[in-house]
């Protein structure tokens, strides 16, 4: 069975939910402290939370820890690397994904459900979605305003939309360039998402739309 490491930094707080979601998707998951090594794993997930209390910039300090050298190695080898919320911030700060996550347009913490349009199903994380499908997941962040100097550098995976899939200014919760909610690396094996798929991975949570992201990832890692 494929094994995923769920990396825990000081201040990470979505590790248990993420571990559970991977298990529900048919994978093996293990929470690992950021001092651990990753050599026995098939993929790595950086879950949400507030690593190092978001001091300096969200994700900045975690991105400079030694374990990130191993995560970079995973990415180079084409293995799956998923960053959720704070994990996405860590991946951009570490240079594994282009761009930066800046404070929300209206500088306050946002915690609510959003609609997303699936833009790219050619990644290991989105193969079980339909192109153009509208899904629901929650966001919970103060720094989710995606910025990139040249938007053609970003491989857009999810965009904030309304419930019909229209990508409008009104549907953009945080001011992200092009309503970007999730991006992948050029090869597709590194994904950063501000919305939380693990919080939409069971019916009792209000949506199972996020579970397919983990299922796609697990299926792909098996190959």
């Amino acid at each position: 069975m494929v094994r995923f490491a769920v990396v825990v930094f000081p201040g990470t707080n979505c590790d248990f939910e993420t571990e559970r979601a991977i298990r529900n998707a048919g994978g093996k998951a293990e929470r690992v402290w950021y001092k651990a090594n990753l050599k026995d794993f098939d993929g790595v997930v950086l879950p949400g939370g507030f690593s190092y209390a978001d001091y300096l910039r969200a994700g900045a300090i975690a991105a400079r820890q030694e374990i990130m050298e191993e995560v970079k190695e995973f990415a180079r080898e084409g293995r799956p690397v998923l960053g959720i919320c704070n994990g996405f911030q860590v991946l951009t700060e570490a240079g594994l994904l282009p761009g930066a996550l800046r404070p929300n347009r209206i500088p306050r913490f946002l915690c609510r459900w959003v609609h997303l349009r699936v833009e790219d199903i050619q990644t290991p994380f989105t193969s079980l979605y339909e192109p153009g499908e509208v899904i629901r997941m929650p966001i919970a962040h103060a720094e989710g305003n995606y910025y990139v100097d040249d938007p053609s550098k970003a491989r857009v995976v999810f965009q904030y939309s309304d419930e019909k899939g229209n990508v409008t200014e009104k549907a953009n919760p945080n001011g992200s360039v092009l309503n970007i909610a999730a991006i992948a690396s050029e090869r597709g094996n590194v994904l950063g998402t501000m919305p939380h798929p693990e919080r939409a991975s069971d019916r009792f949570l209000g949506s199972e739309d996020g579970l397919r992201l983990f299922r796609s990832m697990v299926e792909w890692a098996k190959k």
């Binding site: 300090i61 700060e93 800046r102 347009r105 910025y147 990139v148």
Partner: protein
């Protein structure tokens, strides 16, 4: 040799500074004709180094600033 270092990290021109906008609005609400308020980050520390310029430059690039969105400047003075 010991140095006193100050670093200022600023958002690049043209990038929206939400915190600055809110503080600027609050000052305007208090009746002051404030425009374009920005909130840079200011760091001060002491550094033991033979090559302070090189090390401070490196610190800015590696951690204190994100070169995609920030500019930075610093000053380095000997600790008396």
């Amino acid at each position: 040799m010991r140095w006193k270092v100050t670093v200022i990290v600023r958002l690049k021109e043209g990038l929206n500074d939400p915190e600055g906008r809110v503080i600027g609005n609050a000052l305007r609400n208090l009746g002051y004709a404030v425009e374009n308020l920005r909130v840079p980050k200011y760091f001060e520390f002491e550094l033991e180094s033979e090559e302070p310029e090189r090390e401070v430059e490196e610190m800015c690039r590696r951690l204190l600033a994100n070169p995609l969105v920030h500019n930075y400047e610093y000053s380095i003075e000997p600790v008396s």
